[in-house]
């Protein structure tokens, strides 16, 4: 058989199967944690974006700097006078523990908001303002075993379930929608909303949609100091829940990746130590220091990449499990975002190279004679 350089590296990794398998498990756990956690937070963000896009939201008006934004409901009057804006829908959102096991998003919407256009009422009807009535997403209704006519207790008040709806967004399908005024009472936000979601009029001839949207953003900033209008995509990534989810996911993943890197470094250091004599033989045959270093780095990155594949499978499995749990089904989709998959593999290879670099350098520095004498 014709021996290739990469094949030679792979033989070196594979010859100690148990250690390699254990190292792969370690890397797999690290990358799996990265894929599951970052995939979860991305999925969460994607669900928000899907929700805005399916409802036809062009812009959201929020406070300039606060993530947990609160806007006076009176600004609706000013927004109504901005020529680019067709509709301004006030809304509130918050997280609520509806049972000890199930946390869900709760929205406060006006009964006539355009955002209902993205929902399909499966049973029952829309709520009426000023009434303690609620709409339940089908995912949440399923996990709470609620149907139209049942009641649900929120913050000590009893709400009647008047409708069950379906949404393209997992986030919305696991949510509760209340009349805005009832939601304001429940959350102590009388006269306040979380944001206004805007639909713009069609851009007039001669003005591109981007220019039209920019004009709307500028008008909001000019006429409502302290507020800003942001595109739906930015709103999806900048809301406080998504920001917190991203921060927690990356922080935890980095710790897991550090542990994985230490595992590779330990494996490669042991491997170099055990193969000192072999490295001496390779040096005696004219292998340069650079070539020895390259060999060990290839071995480390092969470990990293193989561990990355294991991790992606683990992470994908974890995301599937989360998508089925009632506590998280509403905020995570089972699919693995492509970006997370690519990042997971790249991260694994990078961790492999970085963790292997010190053992590789040490291996390359061995003197041929001393290495050959090593016992």
């Amino acid at each position: 058989m014709r021996l290739s350089f990469v094949g030679f590296a792979w033989r070196n990794v594979w010859r100690r199967r148990l250690r390699t398998a254990l190292t792969l498990c370690g890397i797999g756990m690290g990358i799996g944690a990265f894929v599951a956690l970052v995939g979860f937070s991305r999925s969460f963000e994607h669900a928000w974006l899907e929700m805005y896009e399916s409802a036809g939201t062009d812009l959201a008006v929020v406070q300039k700097t606060f993530l947990n934004t609160s806007v006076d409901q009176d600004v609706a009057v000013t927004l109504g006078k901005i020529p680019q804006i067709a509709t301004a829908a006030p809304m509130i959102f918050n997280m609520m523990a509806v049972t000890p096991e199930v946390n869900t998003l709760v929205y406060g919407w006006k009964a006539d908001t355009f955002e209902f256009s993205a929902l399909n009422i499966l049973s029952g009807r829309h709520f009426r303002e000023g009434q303690q009535e609620a709409l339940l997403g089908e995912l949440l209704a399923g996990s709470l075993n609620k149907k139209v006519g049942d009641t649900i207790d929120l913050q000590g008040s009893s709400f009647t379930v008047v409708g069950i709806y379906r949404s393209n967004s997992a986030l919305e399908s696991g949510a509760i929608i209340l009349p805005l005024d009832e939601m304001q009472n429940l959350s102590g936000m009388t006269g306040k909303v979380s944001a206004f979601h805007l639909q713009l009029k069609p851009a007039p001839p001669g003005i591109s949609p981007d220019q039209w949207r920019q004009q709307a953003e500028d008008a909001v900033e000019k006429q409502l100091p302290g507020l800003r209008a942001i595109p739906a995509a930015e709103r999806a990534s900048n809301n406080q829940l998504v920001v917190l989810a991203h921060a927690a996911a990356w922080g935890t993943s980095l710790i897991a990746l550090l542990v994985a890197a230490l595992g590779i470094a330990n494996t490669m250091a042991m491997s170099v130590f055990e193969r000192t004599k072999e490295i001496g033989v390779l040096r005696a045959m004219g292998w340069s220091r650079g070539r020895i270093m390259f060999l060990i780095l290839i071995e480390a990155s092969a470990l990293g990449a193989a561990g990355g594949l294991v991790g992606i499978l683990l992470g994908w499995g974890a995301l599937h499990a989360l998508a089925m749990l009632p506590q998280t089904a509403s905020i995570v989709a089972a699919g693995l975002p492509v970006m997370t998959l690519v990042e997971g593999l790249a991260m694994a290879a990078l961790v492999g190279v970085l963790a292997g670099s010190i053992p590789a350098w040490r291996g390359a520095q061995l003197s041929p004679v001393e290495a050959l004498r090593h016992e």
Partner: protein, 235 residues
């Protein structure tokens, strides 16, 4: 055809006042060795343990650098520094011109016999040796191992392992072959076989053969014999 006034043939390898010490000079392994080895020569280096014979072989093979003095290959100094003269890099020297045979064979356990023989050519990068498998196979066949190509070192006898190691040392057509006690781990039958193979290689290919041995009977089969004692040549 010969000529009475032809220029003397330069040495393939020349050693000038070679000294090697360890541990800040407290241990002197070589104390000034000078030697010339012609192309196609078969030189045996003998001596007791600690006489400096292996150290000399390592310096001749570019595995180590001298504390003082120099080793010249085809007139070019080996190593990185030599009074500003152009030198031959040790890695390049070992990769292109020198082949090694060790007492303990030093085959790589994860590779078959056929793969072990190809290892030196993997050290150069790229794919310059597209026919390396065919070459390795031909060498093993030449050494009578055509039925052992796919065996791992643990599946081979000691004599077979040393023959694989010899094939490995020849894969890049070296000009000088350095053997450190090549029969030290072999029984008398296998020793005789290995010595016969080395002699044939030296005669057939004109390869310069330098062999370290403590066995004077083996040394007697060489063209020249250098005996060492206390870091010096003593004959």
């Amino acid at each position: 055809m010969s000529s009475a006034n032809a220029a003397p043939q330069p040495f393939l390898i020349e050693v000038r006042d070679l000294k090697k010490s360890y541990e800040n000079g407290t241990i002197e392994a070589l104390r000034g060795v000078s030697l010339g080895i012609a192309a196609g020569d078969f030189l045996a280096i003998t001596g007791a343990s600690g006489s400096g014979k292996s150290t000399l072989l390592h310096l001749l093979g570019g595995l180590d650098v001298a504390t003082e003095g120099s080793v010249l290959f085809r007139g070019q100094p080996l190593g990185t520094t030599h009074n500003g003269a152009a030198t031959l890099d040790l890695d390049t020297y070992r990769a292109r011109y020198a082949g090694f045979i060790f007492q303990s064979f030093h085959l790589l356990p994860a590779l078959t016999a056929l793969e072990n023989v190809q290892v030196p050519l993997l050290g150069h990068g790229g794919d310059r040796h597209a026919n390396r498998e065919e070459k390795a196979r031909a060498l093993l066949v030449e050494l009578g191992l055509e039925h052992r190509l796919r065996q791992y070192p643990t599946q081979l006898s000691a004599g077979e392992r040393q023959r694989v190691a010899i094939a490995r040392s020849l894969i890049h057509d070296p000009q000088v072959l350095l053997a450190d006690e090549p029969t030290g781990n072999l029984d008398s039958v296998n020793s005789a076989k290995i010595l016969e193979i080395l002699a044939q290689i030296q005669q057939r290919h004109g390869t310069t053969l330098i062999m370290v041995t403590h066995d004077l009977n083996i040394a007697a089969t060489a063209h020249r014999h250098v005996a060492m004692r206390d870091g010096r040549i003593c004959n």
